[in-house]
Symmetry: C2
Subunit: 225 residues, 2 copies
DNA sequence: CCAAAAGTGTTTTAATTACACCCATGC
DNA sequence: GCATGGGTGTAATTAAAACACTTTTGG
């Protein structure tokens, strides 16, 4: 016998990517939102998500719902928090929220979707439910985690210059970093492998690096241990 | 109209406390478990918990269920992770797991309860469901968090000596710490207020300290901001 | 040649570690 | 007195930060 419950379980995802600034230097953290087409909060923007399937693991549900609503496939996906306040929705919904990273080139997929738009994380409108609060927390986690793990990888292609890597850090942390010290820090962390390729075009060619896949990307929670 | 679902939401808590070692020096991390009296996993030990109430917030459910099953009231409570693998239980259950700290003197309350016993965190038997995995993750979080926050507070009375505080760190981290350097670190952190009281009894009396309540105990997640 | 980014070197500061040493109490 | 933990001082090591400087390309 299977009991039923009047508490529903949803899964949502805060998806971060980077967008090159129009001014040319630097990038901004952006995220895709979906316009709600029904009550509650019809017309407001909300995080992509959906209901948890009966035969579906939590992370699979996160990947599925964000693919269905935005067309995106994340390069990094990690559980953020379970939100379950009684008054966060007219009906009782517990949302298992994930956060994800997608590379800027992959982010194009979401532009083709209807009712999906990218927003600058620094200037969001009022969102549906408690989604403003959720995004704030995800941003805090992103900034925090970039300091002690290699998640910046999730926002870059396979090969990249140190300047491009530094740009990712600068966009997330919101401050400039000393190129000389940044170089030494990532070199000492022993997570980068220099290639024989160079990125040319601007001025002095910059060496391309790639991540050492022997090293774990980041702690993804209890399930990866 | 309210839809129903065949996914149920449970709340469980990993409760940590300290128990003085029989040898006299040092302490061990211990946690209370509840013996299951019904299937599945009847007879095995499991984390205290219960079903989420329809009109109950997640953290309230964690506090309620751990009080009902163990009689404990935690001095610190924080969400750990949401576990929802399809095969973690015969029926579909998503468990929102919390972790908590109780002071050793308060831990006595759980000894009076039937079907509750304290176990050394370092040597647990096989537990019901995926609870071994959950405890491992909670231990990792505890050890991690003690390094950058003041959660040790949650395992000590209002006033304590630096040696007692150091014992908490040593029990959690599982290694000895230099008393001299430990003293300087906590003094420089500016979270302790020296009192005029001294703990006498052994040899040279040790000054009692208390925590500065102006400083936040620790990040408790998105809801405390 | 010049501008600009790539990359190296050097100095200073701060934090961590290791460990010697003095102090105050119970016995 | 003396053993023991409380508490202070200090030198060595390591990491972070600030910044001058050299190198290499496109124009």
């Amino acid at each position: 016998m299977t009991r039923t419950s009047d508490i529903r379980v949803a899964v949502s995802t805060v998806i971060f990517s980077l967008r090159r600034l129009a001014s040319g230097d630097g990038a901004a953290v952006v995220l895709p939102l979906v316009k709600r087409t029904r009550d509650p909060f019809e017309g407001l923007w909300a995080l992509p998500g959906g209901w948890l399937g009966t035969d579906e693991n939590l992370d699979a549900a996160a990947a599925r719902t964000l693919a269905e609503t935005t067309g995106l496939a994340p390069s990094y996906l990690e559980q953020l928090y379970a939100f379950g306040a009684v008054d966060r929705s007219p009906s009782r919904v517990v949302s298992i929220v994930y956060w994800a990273l997608v590379r800027p080139d992959e982010a194009e997929a979401a532009h083709a979707q209807h009712n999906v738009a990218w927003f600058d994380a620094a200037s969001l409108p009022t969102l549906a439910f408690d989604h403003n609060q959720i995004v704030d927390y995800a941003l805090w986690r992103l900034r925090n985690k970039v300091g002690y793990s290699r998640i910046a990888h999730g926002l870059l292609p396979a090969e990249f210059t140190l300047a491009e890597l530094r740009e990712v850090y600068e966009a997330i942390l919101g401050k400039r970093l000393d190129p000389a010290n940044f170089r030494r820090q990532v070199e000492n962390s022993a997570t980068l492998i220099p290639t024989d390729q160079f990125r040319t075009g601007s001025h002095r060619p910059a060496r391309l690096y790639r991540y050492d896949h022997e090293v774990e990307l980041a702690d993804r929670g209890p399930l990866s241990r």
